[in-house]
């Protein structure tokens, strides 16, 4: 147990070791991931911040290699490992859905040195959800509002203060540094237990669509009639994919600016016209309906077939911010009905 003020001074101490980030009002009317200074507490309004934590694992962009773009220089256009590395980072105020996204993304990125390096170095301090939002549906995707998958530490906000629990060794070592912590008493432990057991308000009843979708005939889902109506509304922007914590597609390009070159890996979106465009000029997903279908089929069918769970954590960002109200929950239900 840590009283709120002690939690803050602990964060302040940690800021010597880490760059600390957390959800914070961004001056434009929304809460997003920002640098927290001097023991600042994260904004913990119910639900998730605007953007997801994928930006800490898939930086926009990631510099893979650097080179000099001055032809007269001896080492011109010779690729080198980038020199700059980030300070270790600590994310505080991570919701269980976002934390779980890191575990899911880790499956296809198992062999990816850039992602895995960040997975080692970034520390995730989660805050359990005691209230869901109208767009939350983690309980449909195998997650839980008190789930600890992907987290290093989990925090329960109690009246008396913050109950901090270590999930990984990395988390435990950090927690040892919180010198003013005390053992929780019985009533505090009961309060934590109560949060764990009671279904938080505002969340839909749990269901397990992944195994059921896995069993469905792929072509039957692929040829479902509702894709056309869905794509009638879609404007093919990248809002859903860029705000999504489990959309991880990227493209690579070389960029030069003032004689300095870099090879970057940046976010791509299956909504965009260049996505899967072949060198021949052919694009197997050249039309809107095919792109829309791919986004959902990837998350709800191809990924579970390959890795088991859905590639969706139910954070509801795509539902909340889609300008034309395309709702993955409805798509899921439509697919299950086939």
């Amino acid at each position: 147990m840590l009283p709120k003020a002690d939690f803050q001074s602990w964060l302040k101490e940690l800021s010597g070791q880490f760059d600390i980030f957390g959800p914070k009002e961004n001056g434009k009317g929304s809460v997003d991931w920002q640098r927290l200074e001097g023991g600042e507490l994260p904004d913990l309004a119910p639900g998730v911040p605007k953007g997801s934590i994928k930006t800490f694992f898939f930086p926009q962009p990631e510099t893979l290699l650097e080179f000099s773009a001055r032809p007269k220089q001896e080492d011109a256009f010779r690729l080198k490992e980038p020199k700059e590395t980030d300070n270790p980072r600590l994310l505080v105020g991570v919701r269980p859905c976002d934390a779980r996204s890191v575990v899911l993304n880790s499956m296809p990125y198992e062999q990816d040195p850039y992602f895995q390096r960040r997975r080692q170095s970034v520390v995730l301090v989660g805050f359990a959800c005691s209230q869901g939002c109208s767009t939350c549906f983690c309980t449909w995707t195998g997650g839980s509002p008190v789930g600890t998958e992907g987290l290093d530490l989990m925090v329960f906000v109690l009246e008396e203060g913050l109950y901090v629990e270590s999930v990984t060794e990395k988390g435990e070592r950090l927690l040892e540094g919180a010198s003013t912590q005390r053992q929780p008493n019985d009533s505090e432990l009961q309060a934590v237990q109560k949060i764990r057991q009671s279904a938080p308000s505002g969340l839909p009843e749990a269901m397990e669509p992944a195994p059921r979708l896995k069993e469905k005939d792929l072509m039957a889902l692929y040829n479902a009639p509702f894709w056309q109506e869905l794509s009638d509304s879609c404007i093919n922007c990248g809002t859903c994919t860029f705000l999504c914590p489990t959309c991880y597609c990227f493209d690579i390009q070389d960029e030069t600016l003032k004689g300095k070159g870099r090879r970057i890996r940046y976010w791509d979106s299956c909504m965009f016209p260049l996505f899967t465009l072949h060198a021949s000029g052919h694009n197997p997903r050249g039309e809107k309906v095919k792109r829309v279908r791919n986004r959902f089929m990837h998350k709800l069918k191809y990924f579970p077939e390959r890795f088991g769970p859905l590639s969706c954590v139910g954070c509801g960002r795509c539902v909340r911010d889609c300008p034309v109200n395309i709702d993955i929950r409805q798509v899921m239900k439509e697919l299950l009905a086939i």
């Binding site: 997003d32 926009q60 962009p61 390009q253 940046y266 911010d321 034309v324 709702d327 409805q330």
Partner: protein
């Protein structure tokens, strides 16, 4: 529910059903209600039964003209890029249109993106659409379960609260400064025409930025676009953006960097705005679609103001009128082309 919206919804359904039933149109483009409050879903009714799903309220914020070029094309027999369209009349599409949407249809006709004779436009004079972000600001970003729109108020309900908001207080900035709420072209009309509105300070937002020093203006601009994630919702929600390959997407050659490097984001926003000069009707689709709350409309509004002041033109007011920036006149103002030194103001 608002009695006005109910009336428009009923008439809209009836007209759409009749158009679909009689075979006059192959599809009718409108809005249907969605799964979350305050976001309407653009919807293509393809048979008479679908017409009953059409709905009208103050949250129809995306410009439906945006969908027309592709929707019309989808009813044409497939052909090669340079092959002429087949002879004889092609299937028509019905669409509901407010003032600005109809003006964008005019621009699309002028720019050969849609054919007027293939549209059956059902006009609705706009009372102004509501800015969801303004509503959320008032209720301090709390979760919303339902929004019930009355004629002049919105009743917003969420866990543990209920708030009544004056509708006009949360109407979008572009709608508040709109002087042409009536459709300029239509084949049928729901309700009456309201006539032009008088708004003396309709460029106030632009003038505030104009009044800043160049340094402060740059600061304003960079801070405004700082949170851009390059999702291109603004571009894709815009009925003026119909290029098969946008300059930001093109990779051969690559005109602009693809990540969120500030210089690249700035280039995207400046060029996007300039591409809209003399064509933008200030429909506000871009701002409404933006997930990050960027007010990129102020850029296009500035260009709208410039085109009005320099050429006396407003986009999309009449199909017969020439497009201001693709027409040359001998007496066109060209002061702004001359550099300071040519004007003799500086050595």
């Amino acid at each position: 529910m608002s009695t006005m919206n109910q009336k428009i919804t009923e008439e809209l359904r009836q007209k759409a059903r009749q158009l679909l039933e009689s075979g006059q149109v192959a599809a009718f483009l409108g809005y249907t209600s969605g799964s979350v409050p305050m976001v309407m879903r653009p919807f293509v009714a393809r048979n008479p039964e679908d017409a009953d799903r059409l709905e009208w309220n103050s949250f129809c914020v995306l410009n439906l003209a945006n969908y027309l070029p592709a929707l019309l094309k989808s009813f044409e027999p497939p052909r090669r890029p340079n092959e002429p369209p087949p002879e004889g009349p092609l299937p028509k599409v019905g669409v509901v249109a407010t003032g600005c949407w109809s003006r964008n249809m005019v621009v699309q006709v002028q720019e050969n993106q849609v054919q007027r004779e293939r549209l059956v436009i059902v006009g609705v004079s706009s009372r102004g659409m509501v800015d969801k972000k303004k509503v959320l600001r008032i209720i301090e970003n709390r979760d919303v379960n339902s929004v019930d729109e009355q004629d002049n108020t919105l009743v917003v309900k969420g866990p543990g609260f209920e708030e009544e908001i004056n509708r006009w207080d949360v109407v979008r900035d572009n709608c508040k400064t709109c002087i042409h709420p009536d459709p300029v072209i239509f084949d049928d009309m729901i309700g009456e025409l309201h006539g032009d509105r008088q708004i003396p300070d309709r460029f106030r937002q632009v003038e505030e930025v104009e009044a800043l020093s160049p340094e402060d203006r740059w600061k304003w601009f960079t801070s405004e676009i700082e949170s851009c994630i390059r999702c291109y919702a603004c571009r894709n929600a815009c009925p003026l953006c119909y290029c098969p390959t946008c300059f930001v997407d093109d990779s051969r050659p690559q005109w602009v960097g693809k990540s969120i490097e500030p210089v690249d984001t700035a280039i995207f926003h400046i060029l996007r705005a300039y591409h809209c000069a003399g064509r933008c009707t200030d429909c506000g689709s871009c701002e409404s679609a933006c997930p990050m709350g960027i007010r990129m409309r102020i850029l296009t509004k500035k260009l709208q103001k410039d085109v009005l002041e320099l050429y006396g033109a407003e986009a999309g007011m009449s199909i017969q009128e020439p497009l201001p920036l693709t027409t040359y006149k001998k007496d066109d103002p060209q002061d702004f082309i001359l550099t300071e030194s040519l004007k003799g103001e500086k050595k």
